[in-house]
Amino acid sequence: MDTAFYSTQLIPALNRGLVMSLKLIIPSGIVGLGLGIVIGTLRTFGHPVIRKAANGYAMIFRGTPLLVQLFLLYFGLPNLGIYLDAYTAAVIGFILCSGAYHSEYIRGGLLSIKKGQILAAQSMGFSTFKTMVNIIVPQAIRRALPGCGNEIIYLIKYSSLAYIITCIELTGEGKIIATRTFRYTEVFLVIGFYYLVLVTMAMFLLHKIEEKLKIPGFGKA
């Protein structure tokens, strides 16, 4: 086996790409989830006008390919005088896309909460906002967590699309080497392994969070 190829070319490049991938995934994952919670809540309990707007956002970002969204952010926005560098465009695209999907999981979680709890909170003088923040959303998140975890795993993998708008991350670094050396099989097998490790770590982390948030009556007994 040509170990020099791995140790001097492929692995250093992929590690460099991995760092970029993490820089894409971590902020997109966290902010995307936060956005999803807000949008999901607005879609369920918001003022009718806001609800329509939030539904429209979710429809557009769930209804069009992420690649199209990224191209528009990176190549389209300059037409409006907005110039984003590739990294920023990718992160914004990922946040908007995963936020739209998270909002659907959160919406499902919100709808599963018994309405009586809203009445109970309001009967004690909670405002609608306080009811959401303190009573309803904390329960909805627990119910939505498995779905949201799924979305984060998707995010890890679709972060590879960033290289198409020139933000060279894990897949991009590998693609460059594969093209130059024509060793597609080896390169992409290794890249696949990198993603597998990332996803496994994410699953472990999500499981830990689920454990930490576990409450009698929610999820597994």
Partner: protein
């Protein structure tokens, strides 16, 4: 208003139409301090809707509510939230917050609505839970409590807000027969302690012994009202009596 003292709560001409159906047709009554009024009547009579209209969980189409002589302006959010803090409400199906343990269920409104600090809220919550006999269940979550215990937590939760009146919407109707007693005994203690309450219930025996006045509702109106011994005595010949004797036939009384 012929009473010499000002009523704690006065409800006047409450009307509500839901889904094209008249649920409440001009309901009025008032409540003196320390009084227990019991709402009885068949399902669908409008008892729950009336109770929820009083604290505007269901906004009435028409009508006025006064608390200690001040009319509630339900359109002013701040006033509405302040009013609701003074009106405790107990629901048929408890409506505990499922993600919080018994202690937090009681403490959360103290912290988030009354803005008490964590320790003070905790102390108060412990005291209220002890008062309803749940001092040893502080850490348990709703899913780990029996129906009777859940309802007692919800009573503690309402009491912790220091309400001026309590509205109880069939607090024992969702309970297994053997659990009704523990909840009724808490309510009995409240009544004896002078809490002002409106109670919707099917517990006729309880009504006979504790009600200051019985309001019999049917088709969205209070059609009979009076002392329990007048309305519910065996030969009163009232609609209320008729209804209660049919209930007595259906259920063995739980007291």
């Amino acid at each position: 208003m012929t009473e010499s003292k000002e009523p704690v709560l006065r409800v006047d001409n409450i009307c509500k139409i839901l889904g094209g159906k008249k649920i409440l047709r001009s309901v009025s009554f008032s409540l003196q301090r320390g009084e227990l009024k019991v709402l009885i009547g068949p399902s669908g009579a409008g008892k729950s809707t009336l109770l929820q209209c009083i604290n505007f969980l269901i906004p009435p189409d028409k009508g006025h509510v006064w608390l200690e002589g001040t009319e509630i302006q339900s359109r002013r959010k701040r006033d509405l939230y302040a009013f609701r803090q003074q009106v405790g409400m107990i629901f048929q199906d408890f409506n505990l917050f499922d993600h919080l343990n018994a202690l937090e269920n009681v403490a959360i409104a103290l912290r988030k609505v009354k803005r008490m600090n964590r320790q003070a809220a905790r102390d108060r919550a412990v005291a209220e839970l002890e008062r309803v006999g749940l001092g040893d269940k502080l850490e348990l979550f709703p899913a780990e409590l029996s129906g009777g215990q859940k309802q007692r937590v919800s009573i503690a939760r309402a009491l912790a807000m220091d309400p001026k009146i309590m509205l109880l919407d069939e607090p024992t109707s969702a309970l297994d027969p053997e659990l009704i007693g523990e909840v009724l005994s808490v309510i009995r203690d409240l009544a004896r302690g002078g809490m002002t309450m409106v109670l919707a219930t099917h517990q006729i025996g309880f009504t006979r012994t504790l009600a200051d006045e019985v309001l019999f509702m049917e088709n969205g109106s209070i059609i009979e009202r009076g002392l329990p011994e007048e309305l519910l005595s065996p030969n009163a010949g009232t609609r209320s009596r008729d209804f209660c004797s049919r209930l007595d036939e259906l259920y063995a009384e739980n007291e």
